[in-house]
């Protein structure tokens, strides 16, 4: 009890630094400290915001996280490299394929493993399907926060479910895929599955058109989102924000373009940028990114070659991943996850377990900018701004 009152006191004190008053109000009021979360439907998990309000206007907002901390990094340092793969599924549980991708890429960099062509294509296909899954549900949940209770999110989930069926068919699990291996994949993709993916890719633009008719020009959505929670370009770069949040602020930075990892440099796609950096731009950048993802999927499905699904170097470790010992050294691998730059930093001392393992989680780093975007906005808008960042608490707390 005492600690709680103390923390409230400190937030009250810091709030005095920002003299943000509601310009429409002429009444002098006391500031009010309230807790949003940790168990609140609009905080997207167990996340708490210590908000200080002046009337309805946010004067200070302190994010409190760590409720879902599972000690992922320490656990990974105490087990073999391959055994961490199913744990990465549980970081950002919406995008387990991308998380697998990042970890596989890092270890392949560390041990200098060449990946067969077919594997690269399947990985790109899975990563882009994941992006579709993430962006439709992120937009759906953003609309939930706006008060459009569960109608858009169910339209989104209808499409998401089709893609999760594909994931289940190739990997065995809808969300905890554990599909990538160092130098390869768990199992090959059958032609029937590729045909199903082709069907999804062909039908998805029609769904996006329907989704946009439902939302993009909706006056309520425009009024709630435009000019709300503006993230200036400079601030976004200084706070090392990545992903759609950064691109909505007009910074052209996409790791698929910058690094060209895997086979991304073979595909033609554009990087959508937002003009302003408000919540509406973040919504629309995600829609456009899905359209670009469909282009990549189309090219990847056309270009996928036949061949091996495991690197020769890694074949002995398929049956005994415990014996895989990468050489001494360090590596940082990163992928453009749907939420931003997902990076894995690993230091090897030549044993079967990593000496140091670190995850650069985009949700966590994007969340640091929340107060700057919310200050001076209404409390109801703070909820929307949080929704537009698109966090998953499994990745924030790890």
């Amino acid at each position: 009890m005492t600690t709680r009152t103390n923390s409230l006191k400190t937030t009250m004190q810091t709030s005095k630094n920002y003299e943000v008053r509601d310009p429409q109000s002429s009444i002098e009021t006391q500031t009010l400290a309230i807790n949003v979360g940790p168990q609140h439907p609009s905080t997207h998990g167990v996340f708490r915001m210590n908000v200080v309000l002046d009337g309805e206007v946010v004067t200070s907002l302190k994010p409190v996280m760590g409720y879902l901390h599972r000690n992922h990094e320490q656990i990974a340092e105490n087990m073999s490299y391959a055994a961490s793969m199913p744990y990465t599924d549980r970081l950002d549980y919406f995008n387990s394929m991308t998380n697998n991708f990042g970890w596989a890429l890092t270890v392949e960099k560390l041990a200098a493993i060449d990946v067969p062509e077919r594997v690269e294509y399947v990985r790109v296909i899975m990563a882009e399907l994941t992006r579709l899954v993430n962006h439709v549900s992120a937009i759906g949940f953003l609309l939930n926060d706006l008060g459009a209770f569960f109608t858009p999110v169910l339209y989104a989930f209808r499409e998401r479910e089709k893609i999760l069926d594909i994931f289940e068919e190739v990997s065995g699990s809808r969300m905890m895929c554990n599909y990538f291996r160092f130098g390869g994949l768990r199992r090959d993709v059958t032609p029937a599955v590729l045909e199903k993916i082709r069907g999804i890719v062909n039908k998805f633009p029609a769904f996006l058109d329907e989704f946009e008719t439902l939302l993009t020009k909706n006056e309520i959505l425009c009024m709630r989102c435009q000019n709300v929670g503006i993230l200036p370009r400079d601030l976004a770069v200084n706070a090392s924000i990545t992903g759609p949040l950064l691109r909505a602020s007009g910074v052209n930075y996409d790791i698929r373009k910058v690094d060209g990892y895997s086979v991304y440099n073979r595909f033609e796609f554009k990087v959508p940028l937002g003009p302003k950096g408000d919540v509406y731009d973040r919504y629309y950048v995600r829609i456009l990114e899905m359209r670009e993802s469909l282009k990549i999927l189309d090219q990847a499905l056309k270009g996928i070659p036949a061949g091996e699904i495991m690197a020769k170097k890694m074949l002995p470790f398929v049956k005994s991943p415990r014996n895989f010992k990468p050489p001494v050294g360090e590596a940082y691998g990163r992928v453009e996850g749907p939420k931003g730059e997902l990076g894995f930093y690993v230091v090897s001392d030549g044993t079967a377990q990593p000496w140091r393992y670190h995850v650069r989680a985009p949700s966590f780093i994007n969340l640091t900018i929340l107060e700057d975007m919310c200050r001076g906005q209404k409390l109801a808008d703070a909820i929307v701004i949080l929704g537009s960042i698109d966090i998953v608490l499994g990745e924030v707390d790890r």
Partner: protein, 211 residues
């Protein structure tokens, strides 16, 4: 366009979906959910849930040899294996205790991948809700054992591939045994020749190194 036209267009989309939910099929915008306990979707063959142990024909014939590899590879360490010993304290190639804690298992499927004897596989059984943590969720060997026929039923592609592989290995083993027997017979028929060959000193291929 007049103010509010966006909302009206959006409403038309929902109205269309509402109508479609009555008159269209699941793949054309109609209802795609099922009423779960009564209706069920077909299981995906690769679907993986908690692991089980395979036996051939009778439960005594389990394939597991208690090598402990799956327990070592298991990321959350949910498998416990104790080897069986006979009366003379000689280790047997079978487990005395094999238990999997379902409250710890995270369905990653690494045990199935690592097993060198094709003994442990991921099941399709997901209806395991229980109020008894020790009895129903900490599964012992007897509860984990399932027949190869069951495995063939739930995952025909994988099971038939593994059966073919095992049959081939069996045939090879038999052929090798037969060849060894034939060789022994031949050696018995010509003992003098074999003895002469054995007497001949082995010629070193390279001179012994001095340290």
């Amino acid at each position: 366009m007049f103010f509010g036209s966006g909302v009206i267009k959006g409403m038309l989309v929902t109205l269309k979906a509402f109508a479609a939910s009555y008159f269209r099929g699941p793949d054309k915008g109609g209802i795609f959910t099922v009423q779960y306990p009564e209706q069920r979707l077909a299981e995906k063959e690769n679907f993986r849930n908690f692991p089980f142990l395979v036996y051939d024909k009778t439960p005594d014939n389990l394939r597991c040899v208690a090598c402990d590899i799956c327990a070592k590879e298991c990321p959350p360490k949910c498998i416990t294996i104790v080897r069986e010993f006979d009366k003379d304290n000689k280790p047997l190639k079978r487990p005395a205790v094999f238990s999997i804690d379902h409250t710890v298992c995270m369905n990653c499927g690494i045990c199935e991948e690592a097993c060198p004897f094709d003994a442990i596989f991921m099941d399709h059984n997901f209806e395991i809700a229980s109020t008894d943590r020790q009895g129903d969720l900490l599964l012992q060997k007897e509860a984990l054992l399932k027949s190869n026929d069951y495995f063939n039923k739930i995952r025909p592609t994988d099971a038939s591939a593994i059966d073919a592989k095992r049959a081939e290995a069996e045939a090879k083993k038999k052929a090798a045994e037969q060849a060894a027997a034939a060789k022994a017979a031949a050696a018995a028929a010509a003992p003098k020749l074999a003895a002469a060959a054995a007497d001949k000193p082995a010629v070193p291929t390279e001179p012994p190194k001095t340290v």
